[in-house]
Symmetry: C2
Subunit: 310 residues, 2 copies
Amino acid sequence: MSRVIRTAAAQLGPIGRNETRQSSVARMLELMREAHASGAQLVVFPELALTTFFPRWYFEQQQQIDYFFETEMPGPETRPLFETAARLGIGFYLGFAERIIEQGVSHYYNTSILVNRQGKIIGKYRKIHLPGHQENEPWRPFQHLEKRYFERGNLGFPVFDALDGKLGMCLCNDRRWPETYRVMGLQGVEMILLGYNTPLHYPLAPAHDHLQNFHNHLVMQAGAYQNGTWVVGVAKAGIEEGCELIGQSCIIAPTGEIMVQCDTLEDELIIEDCDLDRCREIRENIFNFSLHREPQDYQLICQPKLSTEA
Amino acid sequence: MSRVIRTAAAQLGPIGRNETRQSSVARMLELMREAHASGAQLVVFPELALTTFFPRWYFEQQQQIDYFFETEMPGPETRPLFETAARLGIGFYLGFAERIIEQGVSHYYNTSILVNRQGKIIGKYRKIHLPGHQENEPWRPFQHLEKRYFERGNLGFPVFDALDGKLGMCLCNDRRWPETYRVMGLQGVEMILLGYNTPLHYPLAPAHDHLQNFHNHLVMQAGAYQNGTWVVGVAKAGIEEGCELIGQSCIIAPTGEIMVQCDTLEDELIIEDCDLDRCREIRENIFNFSLHREPQDYQLICQPKLSTEA
């Protein structure tokens, strides 16, 4: 049985603050239809794909923040994604801001879902490595308040049986951390889906701005190779509300090679036939975990942070 | 006080099976003098730098194996390295096969040492990620019997105070594993020294042979960036006893950028001024461990291998 997933990475251009969810969904539906027309079985959208990247602003009123969060998925505006996916028989990954209310208390997460070819949610991930800062820092040209607006994800890094393979998810800054890939690699992941919103300008070390694209690919290629997994990285790109976001959405083979890459900063679709059996080329050889890992020497990695640390 | 270490990576070309230790040491002394003449304070030699890469052969007699191991360091043939280093005031890293005898039992390690500018050994590392296989596999064009000839290193991944910085070491296949860098990163490492002997041809997946140079740099650049550390990777290169070894020795900044790289497969020296304070550009920002690591979600990485695994 073939284990090739024809996979589409659906990069989005910028989404303005006043653009509606209906508008974002309409753009994604167009990309989904294009993906289906090319024979894709899976389409991957970015992180926080329904709205502008709102953590760039400090909001004083909770109502302003809540505006950007979904309280149901699908909800009225997102239902067409699910219906079209089911009708076309195409799965998808979607990043969005998730608000849930438990015993009267609201919880906020930076979330992604995996939807199968029948339009059903079969996997959920909540972002663990939240970047940025917690308090308003007016010296910055823009804020990055993910640590303020989101709680740390509470679902770990799960791996899901889907499309005859083992699929995992993460979001944006997660991709910089080798632990993200390894925890899924140890569960046999064969394809990691991830969306990102990555500003070109990093206010803490502006001398590194010219390295953003290099770092973006470096960490995803290393994560793919070191775990023998496909990686599908999808940007929201372009100049969004005056903030430049990098593009370079790509699909990376288990060898770490970039197989296909976006060449615009706009809505753009790229497609690759991802043969999940190619993971074995790496996982049964150079990164044969059972033969070559040495966890007795990794213990420091799993120790709690020192109390002197934040 | 300046924390710039002018560092030399001293790539070696091939060492034939019949070449003597005296000959290898003479070549290293020439590179050491060249490094000193350029103002270097530290020179980094490859893994198993004193002899040919002997794990490529299956030996039936222990005496044939023992021939390649050092029982004292310095010994008669290696003493000139230490004496010259002390005289010139230059530190060095050296990889060699180490045999120690404890209570009448011999132990064998793939080892590296760090020698200070006074010619004293101040750090030792024994290779943990031993690649290859344990039994003779005659179908291979050459063997890779590290798992047969060496015991797994028993010193962990220590970090040493040296040259006004924190220096760590690893060897060859260790560099492919992100855990190697992370365990040292968590101890504040600022420069990782590593030597390698990497065949261009990988008999288990020959279709990947053309990726060997790419993978070599990918893992070292990712390890440097993800831990904000300098990495000095030094090859034994060229055609050694019919086996092609990759070169591409290089010095990598904490940003993951390759600052300087060898362009031959022969004895070759490259030099870089490594400012240890540049580690902070990464470690206090994007990879600020105390702010951004999430070890509670990494636990799988440190669990013992399953009993069903080898």
